[in-house]
């Protein structure tokens, strides 16, 4: 029993998480101590014990590094205690970010898959366009985000769409690259077999290439959805009037509300994790449906 725990994954992850938590609290004490000493001095309190100092560093209004406890309390306050319609609710901001992310991700991955199918079948596209798609992975295309928001704004395209456009093009490139790799993954032997069956291009595509591409597709969808979320958050920095995690980060950094920033960050991380795990679940369902044995 104990051995199984030791060899498994859950316990090590918990231990490492606990170590990180400990370091975090230690960091909070170290980083916030100066502020707290100043606070004590300002309050005219000269003789304070170390434990008072430490307790103080854990309970500041605007700490340099809030403790995980403070962040959780803020999350609880803004997620559970605040009405979801309120502009202070993280659920409200989360829904803004998630809707743009999901819309963009759907558009981007659909376009990416479409282009991958074209690239696999049209040789000139493969030779001429694909190098650029691959090269696009090495440049920070996210830098285009503020410009796209402003340009679309001039066409009176506002609201969800500009953010979704950015989310779409960020997920587009990884999905294209992964899908092309996947559609190419059948080896020549299998393709030859299809030829001996005198299968048409369409049959080869649906019976061999598509099933072979599934693992690659899901791996790149995970990368794509994470990129979409980052894209949306960055777009919300430029376009902060509609809310969203990015707007929350920006507002927090303007007013020095560190706890608010960290809470938004944790919420965004939770969303990213949820999206990636959702795709992981879909991956498992699809591969099992295709007859893969775990």
């Amino acid at each position: 029993m104990l051995n199984a725990l030791w060899q498994g994954k859950a316990l090590p992850v918990l231990v490492v998480a606990a170590i990180i938590g400990l370091f975090w609290y230690a960091g909070s004490i170290l980083l916030n101590a100066d502020l707290q000493r100043d606070a004590f001095v300002n309050a005219g309190k000269t003789d304070y014990s170390t434990s008072e100092l430490i307790a103080g560093t854990f309970a500041q209004e605007r700490p340099k590094l809030p403790t995980p406890g403070q962040i959780m309390a803020e999350l609880y306050k803004t997620v559970i205690d605040t009405a979801p319609t309120s502009k202070r609710s993280l659920i409200y901001h989360g829904s803004v970010t998630l809707s743009a992310t999901l819309l963009g991700f759907l558009i981007g991955s659909a376009l990416g898959m479409g282009l991958a199918i074209l690239v696999v079948h049209v040789r000139s596209l493969d030779k001429s366009l694909m190098p650029w798609v691959v090269a696009s992975q090495t440049i920070p295309i996210i830098a285009l985000a503020p410009m796209i928001v402003v340009i679309l704004n001039q066409f009176d395209v506002t609201g969800l769409i500009p953010k979704a456009v950015i989310a779409a093009y960020l997920s587009f490139f990884p999905v294209t690259v992964g899908m092309v790799k996947g559609l190419r993954s059948p080896d020549p032997l299998q393709l030859d077999l299809m030829r001996t069956y005198s299968a048409s291009r369409l049959q080869t595509f649906f019976m061999l290439r598509v099933p072979a591409s599934v693992p690659f597709l899901f791996a790149s969808l995970k990368v794509g959805v994470a990129a979409s979320l980052v894209g949306t958050v960055v777009a919300e920095l430029t376009k902060s009037e509609d809310g969203g995690f990015g707007a929350r980060l920006l507002a927090g950094s303007y007013y020095g509300q560190t706890i608010q920033i960290w809470a938004a960050l944790f919420a965004a991380a939770a969303c990213a994790w949820a999206l990636v795990s959702l795709i992981g679940v879909a991956d498992r369902i699809v591969t099992r449906g295709m007859g893969a044995r775990p």
Partner: protein, 373 residues
């Protein structure tokens, strides 16, 4: 040499468009191409049209006339761009010509691909040539269509406008680049270095590895750029805060990749080291680190892009008045979209060069790996 048949129809359509534009509605106006002088545009378009209709669709082009269509397409594209910049009238004959040249360029790509052998020096040339033709075609379309439809600069400047801006703002762009690169390099070295070191340190404790790997994979999917405002608060507006963001972004991918790499050495080789009575350190440096190099480089390459993203996004939150992210953010606000594009070009070129440098070093260092043999 057989050519893929799909685009042969494109060639016929393209040729027809060129001939139609040349003999029909094209108003070549008074001032013509600097290169060829008045009146020659019509002739070039006509020649391209005839060649595209005659030779384009042929599956077996004789060796001596392979370069006719690509060459004439290039010539015609040049004419298009020069005319687009002249003060001549813009009638729809030019639009047809733009479309026609594009289709001919497409067919040219197919011809070039088909004429290149699968192996050898020529195929390496083609690997560069074909994407270059594609990129040039795209730039030509962007330039000519942008001028034809008079797209305002605040929406989409043409490549030439961006190029001019790039050339006239070299000092500003250089200062921005140096500022941002400072943060990127410092953060990249620290983040990747720490990732590799920690991976080696926890190498002897499988328990910690099992705990760190799932967390590391999780963190790689999180929107870590969001820590940028916090780092700006901690380390101030200057490059140090950007370096900090880059450290955090690059650390986990490097850790995960290095840990995976340290497990890559085969059991046979490890046994061999054991029979030599090699110590842990000897095995590490003589066998396992070299075997891990492909993985380490994979992490380094992923991180080169992440570092750029981290630094640029961090600059959206606050900088001294210099830096690529700062430039993008402010020039967008001032509607100087051409300057934004110029900065993006610099960032893109820097990103590709950095990646290319890493790939070149990787080739040098891991020449023994299967993918390079």
């Amino acid at each position: 040499m057989k050519i893929f048949a799909g685009s042969s129809k494109l060639s016929i359509i393209g040729g027809a468009l060129m001939i139609f534009a040349a003999v029909g509605p094209l108003d070549v106006g008074g001032d013509m191409s600097l290169l060829t002088g008045t009146g020659w545009t019509r002739f070039i378009y006509l020649a391209l049209g005839i060649i595209a209709m005659r030779e384009g669709p042929i599956a077996d082009i004789p060796q001596k006339s392979i370069w006719n269509l690509p060459g004439l397409s290039l010539f015609a594209a040049f004419e298009l761009v020069v005319y687009a910049h002249s003060a001549g009238t813009r009638d729809w004959g030019h639009l047809l010509a733009i479309l026609g040249v594009w289709l001919c360029a497409w067919r040219s790509v197919d011809i070039v691909i088909a004429q290149t052998p699968a192996r050898g020096r020529a195929s390496q040339w083609m690997q560069w040539l074909v994407p270059l033709i594609f990129g040039a075609t795209l730039l030509m379309l962007w330039e000519t269509l942008g001028l034809y439809f008079n797209v305002p600069m605040v929406i989409l400047p043409t490549p030439s406008q961006i190029g001019i801006r790039l050339a006239t703002s070299v000092p500003v762009l250089t200062a921005d680049f140096l500022q941002t690169v400072q943060g990127i390099l410092a953060g990249y070295v620290m983040g990747c270095g720490a990732g590799i070191l920690i991976a080696i340190l926890i190498d002897r404790i499988p328990f910690l590895q099992r705990g760190l790997l799932p967390l590391g994979n999780l963190v790689s999917a999180l929107p870590i750029v969001g820590v940028a405002p916090i780092m700006v608060m901690w380390f101030g507006f200057d490059w140090q805060s950007k370096a900090a963001v880059v450290v955090i972004m690059t650390f986990f991918p490097q850790l995960v990749n290095t840990v995976a790499g340290l497990g890559a050495a085969g059991a046979m080789e490890r046994d061999l080291m054991k029979t030599y009575g090699a110590s842990y350190g000897q095995t590490l440096f003589a066998l396992r680190l070299p075997a891990a190099l492909p993985f380490i480089f994979n992490g380094l390459k992923i991180n080169s892009t992440l570092a750029l993203i981290g630094a640029i996004v961090a600059e959206f939150f606050g900088t001294p008045i210099v830096g690529m992210g700062f430039r993008i953010n402010t020039e967008v606000g001032r509607m100087n979209i051409d300057m934004v594009w110029a900065t993006i070009v610099v960032a893109g070129v820097a990103g590709s060069l950095f990646y290319g440098l890493l790939a070149a070093i990787e080739r040098r260092v891991t020449f023994w790996h299967a993918s390079y043999r």
